[in-house]
């Protein structure tokens, strides 16, 4: 990470901890109600969302504004503009408006890196294809760290459509680098070929959750049912839906949101004592404040 944040895969353990410590400071500032930072004064951040995500876009926008940046928003979905080449045209045009940092969400793996390699601005990956969603990974880890006071040695179970999940990839990259033990759990049709990753794979939810410290439940796309990757919502919930009954007393329950209640997670679990899902949302703003401020220091225009 010099002037871009493209993937947690690119970061060293030290860089991860630098980001997490800075994010933790911002989290404490937010808790004190301090939202008038000047770290990004004079900086212009463009949120470029080629795929819909109100929550992530708002989180980045608030993070930039809390630190005094100018923010513009651009969104475009599903059109020919999503193609790589015209994506670059759009990025170069936005850059030409004296933008310093582009926060990009795109449906194609590698698209954000493609822009970063061919523009001068700092680029932040706000989720691309099924590749990585590094700020989500960081906010999940920040949440775990703040609650457990450690990351190393924890057993973290990621449940759901790991194969298609950029959240899972960023979690795996970040958590394993920091010494956590990661287990992924899903029906066989939604499990990746994890050969090179330091993760355990498991199709049985109860076995996966055995002596887990953290359960991170992924959002399930119902379109996967149409693709025949699982037979029905009912069957999925029966075997892989996380319910309160699965959770031991100290287990931390995370979900990147928005939740499909009754599909990948039950009402009781989502709102139960183990859930830190709303805490994740606050940490998301803090993490994005940390990322933007560090990028300005590093690449700084």
């Amino acid at each position: 990470m010099d002037k871009h944040l493209l993937a947690l895969e690119d970061l060293s353990r030290e860089q991860l901890w630098t980001l997490l410590h800075r994010a933790n400071e911002y989290r404490e500032r937010l808790d004190r109600g301090e939202k008038d930072g000047r770290e990004l004064a004079g900086w212009t951040v463009a949120n470029m969302f080629f795929e819909n995500s109100t929550r992530t876009r708002m989180s980045f926008e608030l993070a930039a504004k809390y630190l005094g940046a100018h923010v513009i928003n651009f969104s475009q979905q599903g059109s020919s503009l999503a193609k790589g080449e015209s994506l670059l045209d759009t990025a170069q045009n936005i850059e030409a408006m004296a933008v310093d940092c582009m926060v990009i969400r795109h449906g194609t793996s590698g698209a954000v890196r493609f822009v970063a390699e061919n523009t001068r601005a700092s680029v932040v990956n706000a989720g691309e294809g099924r590749h990585e969603h590094p700020t989500q990974g960081l906010l999940d880890i920040l949440t775990i760290w703040r609650h457990k006071q450690q990351v190393e040695g924890l057993k973290v179970v990621i449940v759901g459509d790991v194969l298609h999940s950029r959240v899972a990839r960023s979690n795996i990259q970040g958590l394993t680098k920091l010494g956590a033990k990661v287990t992924v759990c899903a029906p066989a049709t939604l499990l990746p070929d994890s050969g090179d990753w330091q993760v355990e794979t498991e199709t049985d939810l109860n076995a996966a959750l055995d002596s887990a410290d953290v359960v991170n439940v992924l959002r399930l796309q119902l379109e996967r049912q149409q693709q025949g990757l699982f037979p029905s919502a009912k069957e999925y919930f029966k075997f892989w839906g996380v319910d309160q009954k699965h959770l031991q007393k100290d287990m931390l329950l995370l979900h990147p949101g928005p939740m499909n209640r009754g599909l990948e997670i039950s009402h009781q679990a989502a709102d139960g004592p183990n859930s830190v899902i709303l805490d994740q949302v606050t940490n998301g703003v803090a993490v994005r404040m940390a990322v933007l401020s560090i990028l300005k220091e590093r690449g700084g225009n």
């Binding site: 080449e85 194609t108 793996s109 493609f114 294809g129 590749h131």
Partner: protein, 438 residues
């Protein structure tokens, strides 16, 4: 024209002998030592004289996609690469699925091409996989074989019909084996790297399943079946078993599947996006073993030129394909022959007698009375792949900077020199001076 090739080394049928070759009226008129005959003289300076190389899988893009390649530019690339004959795949725009288009390709090739072009017709109308095309009429118009390359005939009933129909005249069906329902949108080899990059993976079983079905249908219909650009171990094993029990099946492999693995796709390198995808080291080894034991009959480039702008995008959006005509021989010579993995005779065989046998063509050798389709190789020549120097329009290669050796020094088609020392075009040998190669 009359011409004596002096001081060459004839490599043919596994033997090497020094001899002069006299060419007259497009044919080899005499072979001997210290030949003094009418006409010009070209001193080969010990270069290897081979029967003309044949690439049985090339995309010339004409008609319809002349921005990527034309018959003129594609055959120039072939001449530069030492090929005297190429087979033109039919997935042009429009698709070559009727006799008029077969004739059009043949005529344009005759007028504008530097090397011989053998058109391949489509198996089904519009390559839609629904109704079989006019195989008989296209054959009469000059189609050497039939393929829906770029797509496999997914419907087993249609495919079986096509094979039964083709078998009545012993026509060749060329299959690009890939069950699309199993590929499931994959853009590179399925496995840990695809999952790490977050790219959709194409499972190797999609190829194995397609190969096994095609073999079953060919066996039942007694059709001549050629499976093109095999990429996975399971497919090689299936062909080996089928050949052992007498099925009329042949196969080829591309240079890139012999030299690269999926790791070339890392960092979203669109130049390594190809269909079928680059696979694993185990697959690469299995392909090489299959080539060496005769399971795989030919090497074919699947020369697939694209515009630079088309490859300058994300991995998902880039069109699959690698150009091969200008680098195939030199890369394989450096990687396989010089490294000792393969004999020179075998490499020659896989670019000459092998594909000619697959296509049902007469054998071509350096012998009196044969057409003077000759490729000369300079075993001492070396170069690095530099796409800037390509004469074809496509520069989409992942091999830039790779070492090549044993470079083609002369390409002769029907007694006419179309490439000499890298210069492509109708080359005239000076009358007076004894011209030299090298």
């Amino acid at each position: 024209m009359e011409l004596v090739l002096k001081n060459g080394k004839i490599v043919d049928g596994g033997t090497i002998r020094e001899a002069d070759v006299w060419i007259r009226d497009g044919k080899i008129a005499e072979i001997g030592t210290d030949l003094v005959r009418p006409g010009k003289t070209l001193d080969m300076g010990g270069k290897l004289i081979l029967p003309g190389l044949l690439d049985m899988h090339v995309h010339l893009r004409e008609p319809g996609q002349e921005g990527k390649e034309t018959i003129a530019s594609g055959t120039a690339a072939a001449a530069k690469g030492g090929f005297t004959t190429v087979c033109a795949m039919p997935n042009t725009d429009p698709v070559v699925d009727n006799p008029l288009l077969v004739e059009l390709i043949a005529t344009r090739a005759k007028n504008e091409g530097l090397v011989r072009v053998l058109p391949v017709g489509a198996i089904t109308k519009g390559q839609q996989g629904k109704e079989i095309a006019e195989l008989g009429l296209m054959h009469q118009a000059g189609a050497i074989g039939f393929s829906d390359d770029g797509g496999w005939v997914q419907d087993s009933g249609v495919s079986y019909n096509a094979m039964c129909y083709a078998a009545q005249w012993d026509l060749l069906i060329i299959s690009h084996p890939e069950d699309v329902s199993l590929v499931a949108g994959g853009v590179m080899n399925a496995g840990p790297l695809a999952d790490k990059l977050g790219l959709a993976g194409a499972d190797p079983v999609a190829e194995v399943a397609a190969v096994e079905r095609d073999i079953a249908l060919a066996e039942a219909s007694n059709c001549r079946l050629h499976l093109t650009h095999l990429s996975v171990r399971g497919a090689v094993e299936a062909v080996r078993r089928a050949k052992a029990r007498g099925v009329r099946v042949t196969a080829d492999v591309t240079p890139h599947h012999l030299m690269l693995t999926e790791t070339a796709c890392d960092n979203y390198n669109t130049l390594a996006r190809v269909n079928p995808p680059l696979r694993t080291e185990a697959d690469r080894e299995a392909l090489l073993a299959g080539l060496l034991d005769g399971t795989i009959d030919a090497i074919a480039t699947d020369h697939a030129p694209h515009k630079q702008t088309e490859k300058f995008t994300t991995f998902d959006d880039s069109p699959p394909g690698i150009v091969g005509l200008e680098t195939a021989w030199g890369l394989l010579y450096a990687q396989l022959v010089e490294s000792g993995r393969m004999s020179l005779a075998t490499l020659v065989e896989k670019f000459t007698a092998g594909p000619r046998r697959v296509l049902g063509l007469e054998n071509l050798s350096i012998a009196v009375g044969q057409s003077a389709d000759i490729t000369a190789i300079d075993p001492a020549a070396r170069a690095e792949v530099d796409p800037q120097t390509f004469v074809g329009k496509g520069v989409n290669t992942p091999f830039a900077g790779w070492k090549m050796s044993g470079l083609p020094a002369m390409t002769m088609v029907g007694g006419e020199i179309v490439m000499l020392n890298g210069e492509v075009g109708n080359v005239t040998v000076p009358v007076e001076a004894r011209a030299q190669v090298g």
